[in-house]
Amino acid sequence: MFRTCDITGFKVCLASQKLIRINAVFAVVSLLIAVLGAILLVFTRWQEVHLLSSPWYYRILTLHGLNALIFWIVFFEIAGLYFGSTVVLNTRFCSPLLGWVSFILMAGGFIMVDVMVLQGKADVLMTSYVPLKAHPLYYLGIILFAVGALLGVGLFFGNLVKAKREGNVGESLPLFTFGLMAAAIIAVMTLLSGAVVYVPTFLWSLGLIESVDSAWYRLIWWGLGHSSQQINVAAMIAIWYLTASLTVGGNSVNEKVSRIAFLLYVLFICIASAHHLLVDPAVSSTWKVWNTSYAMYLAVLASMIHAFAVPATIESAQRRKGYTNGLFEWFARAPWGNPAFSSVFLAIIGFGFIGGITGVIYGMEQTNIIVHNTMAIVGHFKGTVVLGTTLTFMGITYYIIPLIFRKKIVAFKLAKIQPWLFFFGIAILSVSMIALGMFGVPRRHWDITFSGAIFSHDFNPVIGIFWVLMVLGGVVAFLGALIWLLIVVISVFFGPAVNGPEDFQLSIAEPAPQADHGHKFIAPGTLVASLIFMAALLIFFFLNWKWLSAIWEIQ
């Protein structure tokens, strides 16, 4: 059963549409929990307020981590995978029944885990490093969620096979679906690691096996913990390309290179999990350095390709439409009134300048030691996962509401401001956390005054400023997230229906006209922006090495 979308012309499989909707709804619920947790944590870490008690701090931190990094993102990705493998390919869902089985497993797991955590039976943080032990239902919940997600990923591949067999897609997948496919492959590696690590841990929590080796646990757990964030990166970039096409009619300036960059992710991004073990005594430096630099830089190269290709795609489309003045007219005349566009562009900037630069430097064995286990790491992944992935997912939701839920976006004016609020909030939060980490403030720590401890430590008093900035950024971001949540929930459940193209508040751009210039460089503005990025990276790189040499003096 299909409906033909009167806005996009896609044939939308109704069974698929239902599955996309339900997964998206659960994603939003997870994000709501994560965001409520986040604001409590911000006001606890700031010792002037110190809101939560110590047990509740660790409890909410566990809750926040799981809901933000796993549930919100994976539910959303499953919705995205279904969208990219059915709607975009004009294909029916291969097995709606299994789609529901997958959803029920995931939803069941999600509820079990959150209930266990809130009951105080799993104060183990997201990493649940053994020998910390949670209630067996906590591990079982995670296993169910992972199995459900793996099934969902399998259905994505099933849909691809079906689309190919029915001739809805040629030899090569569209770039958006190809990017999702890379994400799905990384998801398989991630979820297999999850199964390998959580099944024995579950049995151990039941008392069926005596112990789980803690070094082994850390190794395999990070194969899950890190790689899961690389599913996000691949899915996020797929959405960047989609958004460039939807909002300005741009097609990748060189699709083949973009595809190769996704291939590099598939091949080399999961091994970067090693950067979480950079101070681990059980693995050697050779292993650490190989996995976090030599081979991993191929994945960094891929990110750089995408970070250049997506803005270049937008720029070249804009230039072909006639915005050719100077270096940046294309940028000034971009569709900033479209909240999906502004979200994605801001996400690219945040992901590159904050998440990317710190990622390369903190992922290196030598410079990592300055910030390992400090707030700087948290600041780094706020830059990647929140500014990058979450903001991107928020942005594309503005298309999902009218196209999949067939509802108008309520408070559309507010929706235009929302990405900016969220961006600046998280950017300030993230940079302040990075600064705090550089002054040695530890992460995952309830009381950095160390009251009652047998030692004392005085931080540089300047950190007071960064705490205030962090709280300020946190509050602004909280408002941005809350506005997004309200817009989404009210639109989807109470909003006016979209009855035809006249109710569509965004736009779907015509493909930009073909280029007519011969050898002119198509994206000079992006090139200049990339050079600025390079300079920022080198400066921060240099500063960190300089600093390292000051900390570890060699004579």
Binding site: P174, A215, S227, E255, A282
Partner: protein, 66 residues
Amino acid sequence: MSEDQNTISNGEQPKKAFLHGLLDNYFLMLVLGLVVYALSYCIWGVIEILGTQPIPDEIKQTLLNP
């Protein structure tokens, strides 16, 4: 979205054909991705952990009963 523009119609064939085939073959991509990850990260990592010397008994005792 357009099809892949870079086809295998020009001169230097075999390498390009392989890459092109790989990009269109997601099961092969999955297998290669798994192999790299399993060898470079998991198996090598586990070998390193297995090779770690256990903590000498005297030190263990002093740590456990200070």
